[in-house]
Symmetry: C2
Subunit: 517 residues, 2 copies
């Protein structure tokens, strides 16, 4: 008996090995495509596009074929019938999910969506440049229709928006996301109003207004780049596995062996380049914390968008926009920019945390109003997909919501509903993950401080070791081993909640703007 | 009848389209791998290697599978039975050749070679560093054996070295290559001796020796880079489809949409960086001349190594080491390096063309001795593969040949038979293409001047338009449409010959060193 059992075990192991080899191949093709995209954004010559588009399309179709091959299905079934350890079971769970999705959508529809978005992008760009929603409307209409059809193939019985959302967030219920976004809306709208009133009151009283111009001036690109490297040095970025470059739209990408950061420099926006660099560091730092030995399988890959965004926001907001950070970092910044000599850490802190009462543009928003930008997009795209909102009514609805939630009405569609690229990519259900990431960042940071003690002194000393080790231990090293909810509960002892985020902003902005609690 | 014929034509076209789609896929995978290799050499962080190795290995095995798939064989057979136009027939010819080679070698052998070379590279590096041939010998032995076996699979009846050579040069007979290399040896050995004698005679007479130190000094890296960009500007490099970076071993790579150049800067070797940049320009310029519309098929790919090297050598030697080039370029160089103020164009020309009488290192060789370095490697590797030379006898044979052909005997194996990386890659049959390229460069340049008139005045004016148009028209735009011999005959009206190279060096070095003709 013993020998028979052992031979069955060996066989099970053989099947798993075969499966894993297949999974690693798919992952390697995807990572190769990642390098090609990095190259395209960062170093590719202008006219390289036609060849690059073909290379990427080939890699994407090869990856699709490898995943949806009958052999993948057969291996999945065989493995699902066996008793696997937790890690292997997690790999099977993740691949099964992707397999089911990709096999359920007809390839012609995938290609039609891909062709339509390829065409939608320049149309959107032109419409935005010319402030002409009419031009973009038919393309948006078409994309909404195609994505509805896409969702229907995956699950004909489910709410199509839910299906689309789960493309980006497979293990967070849409209901949970919705509750969190509603709470953000309901609590941030009055908080921002209170801040506006306080700001107005100050301008007519003897109280000094908050400092908002600590970083006013023109700052040389090369010095900004040197400072961005200082930032990354001080946070402990592993240069042996990373690099810093510039890109028009900063991003980070790569694997645990090679996770790169990009940023951008504008002469009048030194603060923006610092916070954007810290944000991208957070993403790359997560990737670098994934286990080396699991490279090529879901156990060596990041848990979806909200968790990724939680890492970038944790470093950007909880560290990079904190008072002790500026106490530590301002002297470093002064070495590159002596003109900051007269700025105090408190002034830097205040400038890094000003709340804008009249900003229309999401990517320029502060830590509070940001979420209302997201809520508006979420409410609109959900209603677009459900059919409750017609494409032609988007501009009006958009402007009404801006007026209602943010007290400011866009005068053009270019700075209104045409401002973001996402819908032209056919990305519906993506926006919520931005807010969910910030909310999760607060929950994780609170759990880390709960275990490690308050981090302010550490941050003031430029010592991020404990915090990073906590994140490695509780988030990064698990890859996709746990579902998102499980990961959150294991790391924080609680379900996903907006409590910590709201506590954090209440405390921080209450103090900054001297609000009554 | 008419409609039937037309339906057969349509069908033929369908089969060809299917075939072409498959060929383009393979090509896209290969070009993606090319970007990954460029990235690895130029920008990848140090510790990215493990993931990169896996990505490249996956792409290489996918490419192999796509090529050797039964379906490729079936399509080839179908198309070979039909009447195709010349272009399609050429595509079929090229793919058939690769298909036959790749299907004839067992995949286990390919993998064993790949594993052995992966291991051979660090062993060679260590052996070279420690000047210890014994360490490298068993690996070299193994590689010789494996490559013999490899050749046997492809053609059991052929001379295995011939089979290996044809991997790099499918359409030049080994006999032709051998004749050319023998002629180079037989004519260059006495020419170099005469130059040595003339140099010696000058040092003991009143005649001034040739200027060799025009570029002595230390030159700043950044200024060298700026000058390398000037060089590329002046030659007409298309920056919209290219870029310049540094790499430890300069190379160029890419496609007609994106052909990049790398170079390197050493403080004491300004001349080396200029000539190396011109050399790599020649390679990239060939790639950029391949037709856009044929991207992804052999018609849009370069004709093998010797033709590629002919393009780099033509620009490096016939243009970049010419007297009129220095008349034109020295003022440009002086703007970056005012310390060159007192150098005359003639002195620059002489320094760029000095013949070394005691150099042991191939990559530092001049335009003449270079070929004896190649001949030595060719003779040794040919005898290694045939079994006429035992691995243990390589060092002695190497040193003897250096003494015989170049009058200088290496004192260590590190600067002897261990100096080059190629054999550790399992590349036997590659070296000859370096010399064949130079020889072909001279033949092409002579044909171009025959048609366009002498180019000296144009070069002196920095006008390379006619020359480049001639190369585009006669070489670049054809891709792999013609075999190498056909391409040479169409471009020059003659078979491949060393006549023009020998005429060129006799005339140039005869004048430089005042030899009696």
């Amino acid at each position: 008996m013993a020998s028979e059992q052992s031979s069955t075990e060996t066989e099970a192991s053989d099947v798993y090995d075969e499966f894993e080899t297949r999974v690693e191949r798919i992952s390697n093709v995807g990572n190769a495509a990642g390098i090609l995209r990095w190259d395209q954004e960062v170093v590719m010559p202008d006219e390289g596009t036609p060849a690059r588009a073909q290379q990427l399309s080939t890699l994407s179709s090869i990856s699709h074929e490898l995943l949806t091959d009958d052999e993948t299905g057969r291996l999945l079934e065989e493995l699902e019938a066996r008793d696997l350890d937790d890690e292997r079971a997690a790999v099977v769970r993740e691949v099964r999910r992707q397999y089911d999705r990709e096999t359920s959508v007809p390839q012609e529809l995938v290609e039609e969506i891909s062709k339509t978005t390829a065409n939608a992008h320049p149309t959107w760009k032109q419409a935005k440049a010319e402030d002409d929603f009419e031009t973009f409307a038919p393309v948006l209409e078409k994309l909404v229709e195609l994505k509805r059809e896409y969702a229907h193939h995956i699950d004909p019985d489910a709410d199509p928006y839910e299906v689309l959302f789960s493309e980006y967030e497979p293990y967070i219920e849409l209901e949970t996301a919705e509750e969190i976004l509603e709470r953000l809306r309901d609590e941030l709208v009055p908080l921002i109003e209170a801040i506006d009133e306080s700001t107005e009151a100050r301008t007519t009283s003897d109280d000094a207004a908050l400092e908002t111009d600590a970083f006013a001036g023109e700052f040389d690109d090369d010095d900004q780049e040197a400072l961005a490297r200082d930032v990354l040095d001080s946070l402990g970025y592993n240069w042996d596995r990373g690099r810093l470059d510039t890109a028009p739209h900063p991003f980070s990408s790569g694997t645990q062996f090679d996770a790169r950061v990009t940023t951008r420099f504008e002469p009048e926006d030194l603060l923006g380049s610092i916070t954007s660099t810290i944000h991208e560091f957070g993403h790359a730092n997560y990737t670098l914390g994934l286990p080396d030995e699991a490279y090529g399988t879901p156990l060596g890959e990041a848990r979806d968008l909200s968790v990724h965004e939680s890492q970038s926001r944790l470093w950007e907001n909880h560290v990079g926009r904190s008072r002790p950070f500026w106490e530590q970092f301002l002297p470093v910044a002064r070495e590159r920019f002596p003109e900051l000599e007269d700025v105090t850490p408190e002034e830097a802190y205040e400038s890094a945390n000003q709340v804008y009462d009249d900003n229309l543009i999401r990517v320029e928003a502060d830590e509070l109003t940001y979420h209302l930008h997201i809520v508006i997009r979420f409410e609109i795209e959900r209603d677009l997909i459900s059919g409750d909102l017609a494409v032609e009514d988007v501009p009006e609805t958009w402007n009404d919501k801006y007026e209602e939630y943010l007290g400011v009405r866009p005068e053009t569609d270019a700075e209104g509903c045409l401002q973001d690229i996402h819908w032209s990519h056919g990305s519906f259900g993506y926006f919520p993950t931005y807010s969910l990431g910030s909310v999760l960042a607060a929950q994780l940071y609170a759990a880390a401080e709960d275990e490690l003690g308050e981090q302010d002194d550490r941050i003031r000393d430029g010592d991020f070791g404990d915090l990073n080790r906590w994140l490695r231990e509780n988030v990064h090293r698990h890859g996709k081993r746990y579902t998102t909810q499980e990961l959150i509960e294991r790391a924080t002892g609680e379900e996903f909640t907006a409590d910590y985020f709201l506590e954090y902003v209440d405390a921080k902005y209450g103090a900054l703007y001297s609000l009554e609690s």
